[in-house]
């Protein structure tokens, strides 16, 4: 069913333009980050590593980066087992209660973050979790759980549950059966879920605007302030590094999911 050439060309050109619109903003930041001037001119009049030096040489940016990475790692360490356990429960129980709990666990994707953010801000203020590492990690665990759960539930769907039954009927206890039989086969989905939780924690901005600060200021909060007050070109170098990092992580996560599916 071949269509005439002209409509196909017009259609192809349209799709190409939309794809350009999608990718252009990601590409533009790279040359900007190597610019030698403060001004947002494109193409830059001369190239330099000035903004990278600015970023790596600035203790405040470095402190914020370390804080964000620490929050990301701790979030993954907490959210991955919690989310995997919940996903196991969801895919092994068909009760109405479990279906409602599954919905509830997806709430962070449904409720506008600003509402969650001011609610958390108020509660944290009462119990002294404002500007603390614990408070930031907990909030990011909450945001990361839906990603881990969705990924692991999908992984368990394609896993033959009778295998674990067999291991248990041969005398293994349930936890060991899970660790030695089930987990190795769904590890790609668990890994992918963990990576998505990590990226989500590194990118999280809105809650951090309210509850991070002082010594525990995140990279995104600093970036937000820098973008709102006056556009600091250091943002270009940070953006390039962040985009490269998420590109590699997404590649890792999706190839891991592909292996799980294949």
């Amino acid at each position: 069913m071949r269509q005439p050439l002209l409509p196909r060309l017009v259609f192809g050109a349209f799709v190409g333009l939309v794809l350009l619109y999608l990718i252009l903003p990601l590409l533009i930041i790279v040359p900007m980050s190597f610019s030698a001037t403060r001004f947002l001119t494109f193409p830059p009049p001369a190239f330099s590593l000035r903004w990278y030096a600015e970023y790596f040489g600035n203790p405040a940016w470095m402190q914020a980066t370390r804080m964000s990475l620490l929050i990301g790692v701790l979030t993954v360490i907490v959210a991955t087992p919690l989310g995997t356990a919940a996903a196991y429960a969801i895919s092994h129980s068909q009760t109405k209660l479990m279906r409602s709990l599954h919905m509830m666990l997806m709430l962070p994707l449904i409720v506008p973050i600003i509402i969650i953010a001011i609610g958390i801000f108020f509660i944290y203020a009462r119990i002294g979790l404002i500007q603390t590492l614990t408070g930031l990690v907990l909030a990011n665990v909450m945001l990361g759980l839906p990603y881990v759960i969705t990924s692991v539930v999908a992984g368990l769907q394609s896993f033959d549950k009778t295998q674990e039954m067999v291991a248990r009927s041969l005398g293994m206890n349930r936890f060991r059966a899970f660790l030695t039989v089930t987990l190795p086969q769904i590890k790609a989905s668990v890994f992918a879920g963990g990576i998505f939780a990590f990226i989500s924690a590194i990118d999280e901005t809105i809650i951090a605007l309210f509850v991070s600060g002082g010594q525990h200021q995140t990279l995104t909060k600093r970036m937000f302030t820098a973008l709102r007050d006056e556009i600091d070109p250091t943002i270009a170098s940070i953006s390039t590094l962040l985009t490269a990092a998420s590109f590699i992580l997404v590649l890792l996560a999706t190839s891991s999911q592909k292996r799980a599916a294949g």
Binding site: V15, L107, I114, F122, T205, I231, L249
Partner: protein
């Protein structure tokens, strides 16, 4: 009792164990979503005793009303734009041969996982007065004065469409992929032209994806905060910004909570209405 004992007692124990396994995650969500939101709801009707004053204010004062209409207008424009731009992309991804489909999808997924702040910065570079777009248009002689593309509603819409386009393309693609090719061939063999087959066969079958995409994009736009804050130039005050300003600048918890609750009710009502047609987990599973 063996592992495959089908007795009721075993099932009860099994269910208890599953609840136990889910409980840590459930507690986190309870403590950090349900309780904070519940607390906001009580704040919204409280001011030294029960009151509906905060709601009366947001329904009578002009600033709130303007912000709500602005937000819904932007959400509508963004939703329509993402459908117009996203449908052909999803269609192409579902129909081209490997490796082109992978290429198209990676163009969609990569921005999806790029920080919203990074994209806000990129759009500032692209759209500002002396930015790339204006320079190019001037270079081509199409305009003599730089256009005001950013620090206004237009800039907010351009960046929001960019951020939410993947939420339209991915559900569309996953629906289109499942439409059997044979149906279109059957349509053609019965004498229907390509356009006819598309309109009568393909389009109706892709509607579940369209509905999922429209819902996600519309609802997510209603809650947008960072993009209008950075690209709206201080004049594009969307609902989320009203919530945040009431807390940060005026310490008005009652008003902030009431606005937040109205926003939440809108979002939940839309999800529930659409949830009657498409299961909610199907819609969210696209992420």
């Amino acid at each position: 009792m063996t592992a495959i004992d089908p007795s009721a007692r075993y099932r009860r124990r099994e269910q208890g164990l599953m609840l136990l396994l889910a409980s840590p995650a459930v507690i986190v969500i309870l403590a950090l979503v349900v309780i904070p939101v519940g607390w906001l709801m009580t704040q919204s009707v409280y001011d030294n005793g029960f009151t509906l004053e905060h709601y009366r204010r947001i329904f009578s004062e002009d600033i709130y009303w303007r912000s709500f209409t602005l937000t819904f207008r932007i959400a509508l424009i963004v939703t329509v734009m993402t459908l117009i731009l996203g449908y052909p992309v999803a269609y192409a991804a579902a129909h081209v041969k490997r490796p082109w489909d992978v290429l198209i999808l990676s163009f969609v997924i990569l921005p999806f996982w790029t920080s919203v702040l990074v994209r806000a910065y990129a759009w500032l570079v692209l759209l500002q007065r002396t930015g790339v777009t204006n320079q190019m248009l001037e270079g081509l002689g199409l305009i003599s004065e730089p256009l005001a593309l950013v620090h206004n509603e237009l800039g907010t819409i351009i960046a929001t469409v960019h951020i939410l386009l993947p939420f339209m393309v991915l559900p569309l693609y996953s629906t289109m992929q499942k439409i059997p090719r044979e149906l279109m061939l059957a349509g053609a063999s019965l004498g229907g032209g390509p356009l006819h087959s598309f309109l009568r066969i393909f389009l109706p079958l892709s509607l579940p994806g369209v509905v999922a995409g429209l819902t996600l994009v519309f609802v997510l736009t209603l809650g947008f905060y960072i993009t209008p804050e950075l690209l709206g130039g201080g004049r594009t005050i969307m609902i989320s910004m009203v919530v945040s300003r009431n807390v940060e600048l005026y310490n008005e918890w009652g008003a902030a909570s009431a606005v937040g609750v109205v926003l939440l009710v809108c979002v939940l009502a839309i999800f529930m209405a659409v949830g009657r047609i498409i299961p909610l987990d199907k819609m969210l599973g696209q992420k």
